[in-house]
Point group: C2
Chain length 560, copies 2
């Protein structure tokens, strides 16, 4: 039997996974991996933590768990994969089933034939097309070289000020890294909010927190990088303002590297990324594509998305690695776009669709709810979690959840991701059976409590109002009766101070006379997390008031 010839273009994340999987399925295949960068299998998601000093040994980004650097020698010895580095594929010749490539060091060119080809060319950071973008000091955080540069900046301690451009995942991770290096950071984001995967109200909470660490500028962008002698001195923004700085990190998203595929005539999708089926097969049956260079279906809406995440790249790699050896037997169905980000001491994560994304994906009858409550009992060192749950009201199916706060966000997002994977409804989550003990969660886990609140809202046991909605009403000076249902000592420690009346829940039934006489008065209740706010609303509704609302998430979710 002929040996199968497999070529993998790309050696960062998806590529090595596909090549390794192929090898494990076929010891005799000839597997060649062609990598443009000098390194292989870089843990690129770890760059911000290396820059931020979470660890000092650069090699940890490049080594196997056993401490061996994953270089060409490693791939040959441990996996019999021929890995060419500093080598660029210049052309895919589909007719002759071969690729042409060039050694970027020697300039030598060559070609190699394949039976099956896997494209894992990744994505390239977008850079704003403005003057000065090539000044020394303007960088991205995408390559090992970038990480080395920014780490050195931190170690040398000479840089005082930095500007980070882009308030997405990488931008925020970069802010934390630079902040930990003792640098004063200004974060500039073009959109009116950070972290576009969050709904605006949730983003507002993150912004309030981030502002305690960095200077935050929203709805503004870079018009020019200003320099002296080729070195960055300041960033000029679209509004004309200038921010003096020694370095600027651009993190304004990535562009799929699909040029090679496009030139070869493979079908490119609406995001400019390579189109594949669930087998990870391109429009050419002998060519597969995986990782940041492809677009894939969102599993909830069926619509295509560009989702450049390291975890998905690995899963796709396993599928392509299987199929090039065994024929199309493994499938990657798509993504629910689960993501998470460390934002200083907060976790911020999301899975499924946000409210704004649900609308964009065609869901027109949705309900949302906020739960801001602890992850564990107070006596076990509880930390706050804030969850926004998005549900399709037609089916009660869970569409998405956003979670943030200092609490155990990772577990919450994983729980919701699995709920969405299982196509569960609110009713399914009501009696979810999660592991409980005080060191790990509340008796009713935060996620289940969120489902309870959602059910109560769907059943009209209460009507909710979000912080932004209330703020808008306040700004418009709408007539309302505002009721804080907490105890006086809690009130003294922290209050909204927006004209509210303090009536502790325990006194409410005896003080109903203090409410406005007109039963159609708009009454808004809250407490710290709005459980007592909810109970107060129930009491007030039972005495005939027709327009009672609960401030969702209570004080805990008030971002103003």
């Amino acid at each position: 039997m002929e040996k199968k010839r497999i070529i993998v273009i790309g050696g960062s994340a998806a590529g090595p996974k596909a090549a390794s999987r192929a090898r494990r399925l076929d010891e005799h295949a000839e597997i060649t991996m062609i990598q443009k960068a000098p390194d292989l299998s870089m843990a690129s998601c770890g760059y911000p933590y290396y820059v931020g000093g979470f660890f000092d040994d650069r090699n940890q980004l490049l080594t196997s768990p056993a401490g061996i650097v994953r270089d060409s020698k490693f791939f040959w010895n441990a996996k019999r994969i021929k890995a060419l580095v500093n080598t660029e594929v210049t052309k895919i010749d589909r007719k002759n089933k071969s690729v042409e490539y060039k050694d970027l060091v020697t300039g030598e060119a060559a070609s190699l034939a394949y039976d099956k080809l896997i494209i894992a060319t990744g994505a390239t950071p977008r850079k704003p097309p403005v003057p000065g973008v090539d000044l020394k000091g303007v960088t991205t955080l995408q390559s090992m070289a970038d990480a080395d540069f920014l780490r050195q900046v931190g170690d040398e301690g000479e840089v005082q000020k930095a500007v980070v451009i882009g308030g997405g995942l990488i931008g925020i991770e970069t802010c934390e890294a630079l902040h930990l290096s003792g640098i004063e950071v200004t974060l500039v984001e073009m959109l009116p909010q950070l972290l576009a995967f969050l709904d605006k109200g949730m983003a507002r909470i993150v912004e309030k927190y981030v502002q305690t660490k960095v200077n935050l500028i929203l709805q503004n962008g870079v018009s020019e990088f200003l320099g002296e002698n080729g070195k960055l001195k300041a960033v000029k923004l679209l509004d004309g303002s200038e921010i003096a700085c020694d370095i600027a990190v651009v993190a304004t998203g990535v562009r799929p590297n699909s040029a090679l595929a496009k030139e070869a005539g493979l079908t490119i999708g609406e995001f400019g990324a390579i189109e594949v089926n669930t087998y990870m097969q391109t429009s050419d049956p002998d060519i597969y594509a995986i990782g940041d260079c492809i677009e894939i279906p969102n599993l909830i809406s069926g619509k295509k998305v560009h989702a450049p995440f390291g975890d998905l790249a690995n899963l796709q790699g396993r599928v392509a690695g299987t199929n090039v050896i065994n024929g199309n037997s493994a499938q990657f169905p798509g993504t629910i776009q689960s993501g998470i980000c460390k934002v200083f001491d907060y976790g911020v994560g999301s899975t499924g669709l946000s409210e704004q994304n649900a609308a964009r994906h065609g869901f027109d009858n949705i309900e949302t709810v906020l739960n801001a409550s602890p992850d564990k009992p107070g006596f076990m060192g509880a930390k706050l979690l804030i969850t926004k749950l998005v549900v399709d009201k037609n089916t009660n199916r869970i569409l998405g959840a956003q979670v943030l706060g200092p609490g155990d966000v990772g577990k919450q997002v994983a729980t919701w991701a699995m709920a969405i994977k299982g196509k569960l409804t609110v009713e399914d989550m009501i009696n979810a059976d999660l592991p409980y003990a005080p060191p790990f969660s509340l008796a009713i886990d935060h996620s289940i409590a969120t489902a309870h609140i959602m059910q109560n809202k769907l059943n009209r046991l209460f009507v909710g109002i979000t912080a932004e909605q209330l703020k808008e009403k306040l700004d418009k000076k709408d007539p309302m009766f505002l009721l804080d249902a907490r105890n006086p000592n809690e009130y003294e420690a922290q209050k909204l101070g927006i004209g509210e009346t303090l009536i502790p829940l325990g006194q409410l039934r005896n003080r109903l006379a203090e409410l406005p006489a007109a039963k159609n008065t708009e009454i808004i209740t809250w407490c710290k997390i709005s459980l007592r706010g909810y109970e107060a609303a129930r009491v007030i509704m039972a005495s005939g008031y027709k327009n009672v609302k609960v401030l969702e998430g209570g004080l805990n979710a008030w971002p103003f």
Copy 2:
């Protein structure tokens, strides 16, 4: 309209939840809660952590998150629930729809009529019926009084030695609490393993760890508590040995408190607990029962179980509280018996069926697999997780997962619990979309990697052998070739030393000649986590060996 009269018997966990839910649905109902103990809404799962000094303020076990003690006054003021404490219900008169009760302080008796009754009488610790069980120093950890006693023991610092009887959740939590109080602890368990919800091999790993903290005695029980002047001096075991000690804590499980229901003629199930339907309704339509006094279906097998967990009690309370007001509209379908326990610095949890429970519940074609690998990248401070996954081979449906180790066990168990809730198969988990960033998980989450390993095993890409199976073969001196595929420096640092040959994976293809010539030789491979062990097995199988096995979990899961 007449006011609904609701009586709830029991004021610890399920009872208050049901009463509070009923109140939120009906402001005008007359709700009475009758509690035998002096306290209400005790956070009883927190007792071990109070005893162990995780926190010092006893009131935190009794207060609302806002710091108000949940006493009768609180329940009246905040919830208009009349809560009688130190009051025992002596009879349920179903004909007249009333209960008779007695004030345990004054001895006064009275009766009260109900429209709907909720029984939440809980469970009582089993005590071994042996001499000396009433000696001073023999206790349980079930009541606030028990917690006070054991906390005082720790604070006074006079007790040197303690014996804990029972190696279940509470027993092990008690061990940790006493150990943290500076007491030398001996743990005695009647079964051949700790934590019966774990399979034996997983329990063995816990036992190895627990032995670094306490003296562990398995397969032995108490024959007598020995005392002097009414005070405990030693525990005598069934094998005749004696363990000197000042205190003994009995944690040998609980018995449902169903006598009252039984006397009233309600149907009692096979576990001696009250039978209910999914509405939490007993055989009398006007009487509901919830919490530790009932038995409920296991959702995977459909078989009834007694599952006395605080989280389920709360969920059931919500359902009963809804149904007594709105009629049967809410349901609690059953449990997958998710549980978790802090075992010193390990988390130990389980959801669904273990291998031994799957067999007991009628599953006769199952596959299991072990994954022992980190929860995060090494550079982010990875900690070990060991997972055993149990799958129905007929359907590839996930039946259960056990997880333990110093890593993030809570998230793993929650993930699997939701997978089981969604009735997912191995294939579904293969491409689960979980939130990834280095501070939170590996790019391929430990749970997903476990599914990958399971799929590889189901597809016969490797044959596994467990540590116990290998140990058995070693004891029988079966002829085998044992191959450690790690690097020399790893081998020097830690090795099994059971006659293995060290051939690093990177050298294996060049050293195949060192393997036994006979292709039917049984060859067993491993590394630290058995990924390289698996890769080595693939190489060896490809060169014609017919009987190659991978040691599941590698060195990480070797408990001997």
